[in-house]
Symmetry: C2
Subunit: 330 residues, 2 copies
């Protein structure tokens, strides 16, 4: 038995896997019902025309909350939808055993029935995500991880997928990397606003080497899925080398961060420090809203995996702008 | 029997479905073998660091070509890899029965084992794609269509997915639309080159309404998958409302165009005409390398499906720049 501060992690992991299976089934039933003409317009706007909540979000969150309360009544629960209704978005994760849930990540995708949506279930101890389960039912993909037990696709394929050996980070990263990023919800057309800073950063990563006054990264590809959770899952899988994003909340990333770290990935802040080439690379703060993730990597003769990941972090920082996503109330 | 100019379309469709199943199995076996450490570096650069071909591309194309030659020896065959090796990229599709194949669309995704890759099999009569089968084995998704028989997901779900009724185009499109686009392979950092024209267009589509000097489209989401074939498939499914791209070849889109049209979608040119608000909206020319696709739509009291699609085309044209993708040899 893996016991951690009075919590039986094996028991919690097994419960989380089962919970993700049932919650995923609810999502699966819901999109299929919509194909037959049900609930076509079950969404309402939250803060803007691209910030949406559906009845499905609320139903799935209520189901998950009830299941957890019944099984682990002493655990704290933080879910996207209950949170949003509360008004404040203070950071509420402390040391106690806490569930951090997004009942439906990729809500816009779900509304349009683009397959990249999922339920994301994270369990946090001492402020650190130690269990993560993500179920994307339209893709038949369940990603899961528990501290010390590795990260898995559908319970059978260990992540990253390519692992004999795990490829090192490309020598000239970000060249050779798949770069994942999101346009997000802040669409204000302000010359130095988040939208323009993002686009400038994307362009630096994409442009030919030598272009953009030396910032051209010539990445292998630029991908945008519309789901922070699945961006992290595909980093853990090794499919995305780099994910860079601002504006996420802890329920978007709690499960994914556990998954990525168990797979051997690194996650730090999106915003470059004053000295990007020498700054200490610290783990991202859950709740910091700014994330830069690097996939699991292998060692080479000349470089450890971690050195290759840190080199990549610094090369990304050199090419991206600061993003401005404050924490309301902070 | 659906006979068309001496061709039995039922027989060809049935053969194409079977072919896609077997070719998809080859792709599936290949990525799984790579997970176990095989063939990690089976790709070489074609025209640039982001234009790649793998041994898998070549093996799958050889398999498909051999199967077709054996079953339909009189049919013409055009495949991405045989084409590339020939040097010239003249447009070679005429009136005769022609197979137009991409053995592996989304090669960069395949190399990184991001699930958005597929085999694309198109069959063309009198210059028009009349059969299309797309198999994305990691996603367990096969899309298929034959003229007059509708478009299908996995042979069981008719496309578009939401169809009782099919939603009309949003009243304020592109607001409310999921916009799919690709960064592509032309990464030259030239002030008025394709990369900058694309990014300017993406930004216009994404920015708030009223922004970008009136061009802000406030789309629901911006998605980039790295597969033109799957972009078209998700338009046919109704998940993507708009796909706008330049630089594709006919093997990237032949099957997808058949799928989209059978589902009820529209496909025209990416480049705005001189009079975008009044120009006649013509079908995209296969081989024209410039595509703007609109999903299947429903009628409203005030507007037919086609009128809603054309209104959306004009709103996109108003926001995007001309792209420059000539046809070599033309």
């Amino acid at each position: 038995m893996a016991s951690s501060g009075g919590v039986d992690l094996d028991e919690v992991y097994s419960f989380a896997l089962d919970l993700a299976k049932h919650a995923g089934k609810l999502l699966d039933d819901a999109w299929r019902a919509r194909c037959d003409g049900g609930l076509q317009s079950d969404h309402v706007e939250k803060e803007s025309a691209v910030d949406l909540v559906t009845q499905t979000d609320e139903d799935v969150e209520a189901f998950i909350k009830q299941q957890i309360a019944s099984k682990f009544p002493s655990h704290k629960f933080i879910g996207e939808e209950t949170y949003s209704k509360g008004g404040s978005k203070e950071y509420l994760i402390g040391h106690e055993p806490t569930w951090c849930i997004d009942p439906l990540d990729g809500t816009v995708n779900y509304i349009h029935i683009f397959p990249m949506f999922c339920v994301s279930i994270g369990f946090i101890l001492d402020g650190e995500p130690v269990i993560g389960v993500i179920n994307a039912p339209f893709l038949n993909q369940t990603f899961s991880a528990c501290r010390g037990k590795g990260a898995w696709l559908n319970g059978t394929q260990r992540l990253p997928l390519i692992r004999n050996p795990i490829p090192p980070m490309p020598e000239n990263a970000p060249k050779g990397c798949v770069f994942s990023c999101e346009w997000g919800k802040d669409r204000r057309d302000q010359p130095d606003g988040n939208l323009h800073r993002k686009v400038e950063s994307f362009l630096n990563m994409a442009a030919e080497v030598g272009g953009r006054e030396g910032k051209g990264g010539m990445v292998h590809g630029v991908r945008s899925l519309g789901s922070a959770t699945l961006d992290l899952a595909y980093c853990a899988m090794g499919a995305f080398d780099i994910w860079w994003e601002g504006g996420c909340w802890e329920w978007d990333v709690a499960a994914g961060i556990c998954l990525l770290k168990e797979a051997g990935g690194l996650v730090t802040t999106a915003n470059p420090p004053a000295d990007p080439s020498t700054a200490r690379i610290e783990d991202a703060k859950l709740g910091g809203r700014l994330y830069l993730a690097i996939r699991p990597a292998g060692d080479t003769e000349h470089e450890t995996a971690r050195q290759g990941q840190e080199r990549t972090v610094r090369e990304v920082w050199r090419r991206v702008r600061h993003l401005d996503y404050p924490r309301p109330g902070v």
